[in-house]
């Protein structure tokens, strides 16, 4: 137990790092979700040019590691002269990255609805806007909720990468404590435990949501 001394002493510092992690993740998740839903609608209903553009975007995101993108923006920012605080720089990159995956999840939700739902709504005289609003999207959102929560968990874990480009959050904090205490095993286990707590809670909430929300399916 005394071997975990360094962890106990550094734990408060780690928790502050965790706070930053959660802040960063939430700040990225919100725009990512909004953009993702928007992109999914454009992908399903947009014209050929728009869809081609979105497919190109998805191809890039799917094929390039997030770390490469983060590092790229890190080196690029000072060169372009845009004065953006690093926090918002990484939040932007993470948002754009996850928006792609979120859009695919919502698109799958929309497309998985039986044709008869569209037919029934249209034959009742609903215009496309109305039927999207009250028939398709409510169902698509419900269907997409479980994989969406998985993506949120993935997003939280992805914030650990910003430590590599020098930003401070839980992983960076744990590296600092390790440097001080030279007890990597205990500290990193502690950090892992904190991440686990955050992510597992999120995942459990997701499962709860899944049960509540998929009432009619």
């Amino acid at each position: 137990m005394k071997e975990f001394g360094p962890l106990i002493h550094g734990f408060w510092y780690l928790l502050r790092g965790a706070e930053m992690t959660v802040l960063m993740a939430a700040s990225a998740a919100l725009p990512a979700t909004i953009l993702g839903v928007l992109l999914s609608l454009l992908h399903v209903f947009g014209g050929r040019l728009l869809r081609a553009a979105i497919l190109g975007y998805l191809f890039l995101i799917r094929g390039i590691p997030l770390l490469v993108l983060l590092t790229f923006v890190y080196y690029l920012m000072p060169l372009t002269g845009i004065d953006l605080p690093p926090f918002w720089g990484v939040v932007l990159v993470i948002s754009l990255y996850y928006a792609a995956f979120i859009s695919e999840v919502f698109r799958a939700g929309i497309l998985s609805l039986p044709q008869a739902q569209w037919d029934a709504a249209r034959s009742l005289g609903m215009t496309r806007g109305l039927l999207l609003q009250i028939v398709i999207l409510p169902q698509a959102l419900r269907l997409a909720a479980p994989p969406y929560v998985s993506l949120c968990v993935s997003l939280v874990k992805a914030t650990s990468l910003v430590s590599i480009v020098g930003l401070w959050e839980l992983t960076m904090a744990s590296r600092e404590v390790v440097e001080r205490t030279l007890a990597p095993f205990q500290i990193f286990i502690g950090a892992a435990a904190i991440y686990f707590f955050i992510c597992y809670t999120l995942a459990l909430y997701g499962r709860h949501l899944e049960r509540r929300v998929l009432v009619g399916h």
């Binding site: 590092t71 080196y75 430590s163 892992a192």
Partner: protein, 217 residues
């Protein structure tokens, strides 16, 4: 940023060397995970403590970031006395993390084969071994190929994180070259192109495998 052909000429071989390491790392991880993931999935199906341990393992690796696992193995083990190289640590962490995901893929594949198939086979008088190999397994294999393809793409992208423990794969080499030259764009462009190439190839291989197996059915 001028397009400097001399620079490109020196850059490409360096990046390709990194790509070799990336491919080696990703390939080994995938190969190991295919087996390891299967073992974990089977263990999870067993009632009793083995099942719980397997389930707990999966939850653990899914809810903690790969980076923390990398640091834990690399720094933690060296402190404990049996230090592993960057490559070996990376391999271990990658296999640990992705093994969990692959196990989930197998589980999903097995569950999705309807129980009616089992019943139909038994009704035809098949014994367990025949039932599994001729009816169930081909269907499971067909169903797990797409998610496994996705997972292999994720693995290729995950290898970028081992740059954090000084393994000379693509990301690390990119970092080094960006630090020591002014042609930031070219270096990142090269890295991005290589990753895109690798992930696209992985995707194609997956599609072809899918088609081949569907044909064989």
């Amino acid at each position: 940023m001028p397009f400097d052909p001399h620079f490109i000429a020196r850059l490409i071989p360096a990046l390709l060397e990194g790509a070799a390491v990336t491919v080696e790392l990703a390939g080994l991880t995938m190969a190991i995970c295919l087996v390891w993931g299967l073992l974990v999935a089977l263990a999870q199906g067993v009632r009793g403590p083995l099942g719980w341990i397997a389930g707990g393992y999966i939850q653990l690796v899914r809810n903690t970031p790969l980076l923390i696992q990398l640091y834990l193995v690399y720094f933690g083990f060296s402190m404990a006395g049996f230090g592993l190289s960057g490559f070996a640590s990376g391999l271990l962490a990658l296999c640990a993390q992705n093994g969990g995901y692959v196990a989930e893929i197998y589980r999903g594949g097995l569950q999705s084969v309807s129980s009616r198939q089992f019943e139909a086979g038994r009704a035809l008088g098949m014994r367990r071994w025949t039932l599994y190999t001729t009816v169930i397994l081909p269907q499971v294999i067909a169903r797990v190929i797409p998610p496994l393809t996705n997972q292999s793409i994720a693995i290729i992208k995950d290898t970028s994180q081992v740059a954090a423990i000084a393994v000379m794969e693509i990301m690390k080499i990119t970092e080094v070259w960006v630090e020591t030259s002014a042609n930031t764009y070219d270096v990142f462009l090269g890295a991005a192109l290589i990753y895109l190439a690798l992930t696209s190839i992985a995707g194609l291989v997956g599609k072809l495998t899918e088609r081949r197996l569907a044909f064989a059915q």
